[in-house]
């Protein structure tokens, strides 16, 4: 594939954004990302968005274009769950490679905290989230309980304990504390983790993400054109996807996240090996999701992710730096836009613009997103130019 580059990014501090409207947030992020790239809104010839739960439109991307006073010929609003960042970036690549567009603006943002309210947002997840409306909903499963079912199966299969879950939560929190855009930045210990209430056994409050206002924007163009723009070159090396089913009732396994083929295909497309990856940003809507996704991606042995966290293997100075932005668990969970921050952190690190957080060596990054309860996966590999 004639390949693409990420030339502009924008992210604001995740958390509560009082006085901001969802469309205002989208527009601000879009203009910040274009300015970051040294491009203008009139340069955009394709725009891709998600439909925010806080602000639905018939065609959200077209509504955003109207709001920004631009009229790009292509405006698409996609449904990809938590795999959407990879979906949107890959759609941008294909449009660029196919000649359909030259400058693709991707905006992924939502305001479930300020506009919908935390409780109302959690309620909508039970109705329009990963719960099957016919065969599961009558039994009252909350989203945490679906992940709780997986967590208990995982603990039973591997002899894992709440210390493994807590290790993932504490890792994300420790790194979020050093990130200026992270939502949850107060210290977490095993004691404070255990002191939080059980939501859906064996998952406690701190096994679940917060609900945040936030998101990010990304500008994609051709690598050839990117060389003339102002930022260090960040190439899109490869993308991979996989999906086995949507609902947990149809899952063949409760302990294999199924993410593996998405990385395998991304590596094949990129012509890289797993050993080349020196930063991983893995989707973690719950602690158990982080453990299972890490293992399915082959970044830790089955049942071994908790121990790897405790040994510091995923720290910034460890074997494989992972979720050093704090993950969804502590960087933030901006509703439908969850996961786009994984992409932003990879670009910031590849550019060498992470300041105090900058890793010494970053050539190839993995960003993974997941839709539903281990239902769909999208993995992107980015590389330094």
């Amino acid at each position: 594939m004639t390949d693409s580059a990420i030339v502009g990014i924008a992210e604001l501090p995740q958390g509560k954004m009082p006085g901001v409207t969802p469309m205002g947030l989208h527009s601000t992020l879009a203009r910040m990302a274009l300015a970051d790239a040294g491009l203008h809104a009139r340069d955009v010839d394709a725009i891709i968005t998600l439909s925010p739960r806080s602000d639905p439109y018939l065609i959200h991307a077209t509504a955003l274009a109207e709001f920004m006073g631009i009229a790009p010929p292509v405006a698409l609003t996609v449904e990809g769950g938590g795999a959407a960042p990879a979906v949107m970036t890959d759609m941008a690549r294909m449009m660029i490679a196919g000649g359909r567009a030259k400058t693709v603006l991707v905006v992924s943002a939502d305001m479930p905290l300020s506009v919908v309210s935390r409780n109302a947002y959690v309620n909508t997840l039970a109705d329009a989230g990963p719960v099957h409306p016919d065969i599961e909903r009558p039994y009252g499963p909350s989203v945490p309980s679906l992940f709780g079912i997986c967590a208990r199966a995982y603990m039973d299969q591997y002899g894992a304990t709440d210390e493994d879950l807590a290790a993932a939560a504490m890792h994300d929190r420790r790194h979020a504390m050093a990130h200026p855009n992270a939502h949850m930045r107060q210290p977490m210990t095993l004691e404070s983790y255990r002191a939080t209430q059980m939501i859906a056994d064996p998952l406690r409050l701190l096994d679940c993400t917060p609900v945040s206002d936030g998101g990010a924007a990304v500008v994609v163009t051709s690598q050839e054109r990117a060389r003339d723009l102002r930022q260090p070159l960040v190439k899109v090396l490869g993308a991979g996807f996989c999906a086995a089913r949507l609902h947990l009732s149809a899952a063949a396994s409760l302990t294999d996240s199924g993410a593996g083929p998405s990385l395998r295909d991304a590596l094949a497309q990129a012509g890289r090996a797993a050993a080349d990856i020196d930063l991983a940003l893995v989707y973690d809507c719950f602690t158990i999701a982080l453990l299972m996704n890490i293992e399915a991606l082959g970044l830790a042995p089955p049942g071994g992710a908790g121990a790897a966290f405790r040994a510091g293997e995923f720290n910034a100075d460890g074997r494989l730096p992972l979720n050093i932005h704090g993950g969804l668990l502590s960087h933030g969970y901006p509703g439908r836009a969850a996961g786009i921050s994984n992409l932003v952190e990879a670009v910031v690190q590849l550019r060498g613009q992470a300041g105090d957080r900058q890793l010494k060596r970053v050539e190839t990054t993995l960003t993974h997103g997941m839709g539903g309860v281990f239902a769909t996966h999208g993995t992107l590999l980015l590389g330094k130019g």
């Binding site: 016919d134 065969i135 079912i149 859906a200 998952l203």
Partner: protein, 135 residues
């Protein structure tokens, strides 16, 4: 404390399942040529296209895994927490999501043997299969 559940959607593929439950039967969709169960239910076998037939199951099974909902989100469930949501594997080999009822939530264990029971819903034609721990 058996609750009257809101009726499941009665005009979709799972209707025979809910109607059978009202009659005290646990019916699941089966493809005879493929010799496989199909759940969640599709209109026809996804593998061979044959129309599915609804077969009664024994109602015996085991808890594959479960979670105890402490904080319910759906309004009708708010007063019923804590309650158990579980993946049940029936003796016939097919898995479904349901509740384990009529026991303390903490009494449910991995692999526990269960037996089907049936709850009423707000629709007099539709019942809901749930499970009880076997003695």
């Amino acid at each position: 404390m058996a609750m009257i559940h809101s009726a499941p959607r009665g005009n979709r593929e799972a209707r025979p399942h809910w109607v059978a439950a009202r009659e005290g039967r646990l019916a699941m969709p089966f493809c005879q040529p493929c010799n496989t169960w199909n759940w969640p239910p599709a209109g026809a076998c996804p593998h061979c296209g044959t129309a599915l037939t609804w077969r009664d199951c024994s109602g015996e099974g085991r808890v594959v895994s479960f979670s105890i909902v402490r904080r319910a989100v759906q309004p009708e469930w708010k007063d019923h927490a804590p309650y158990v949501v579980a993946i049940i594997e029936l003796a016939e080999g097919v898995r479904l999501l349901s509740n384990v009822v009529d026991c303390a939530a903490e009494a449910v264990t991995m692999g526990a043997a269960v037996q089907v029971a049936f709850h009423e819903t707000t629709d007099p034609e539709l019942g809901l299969p749930v499970f009880r721990l076997k003695d």
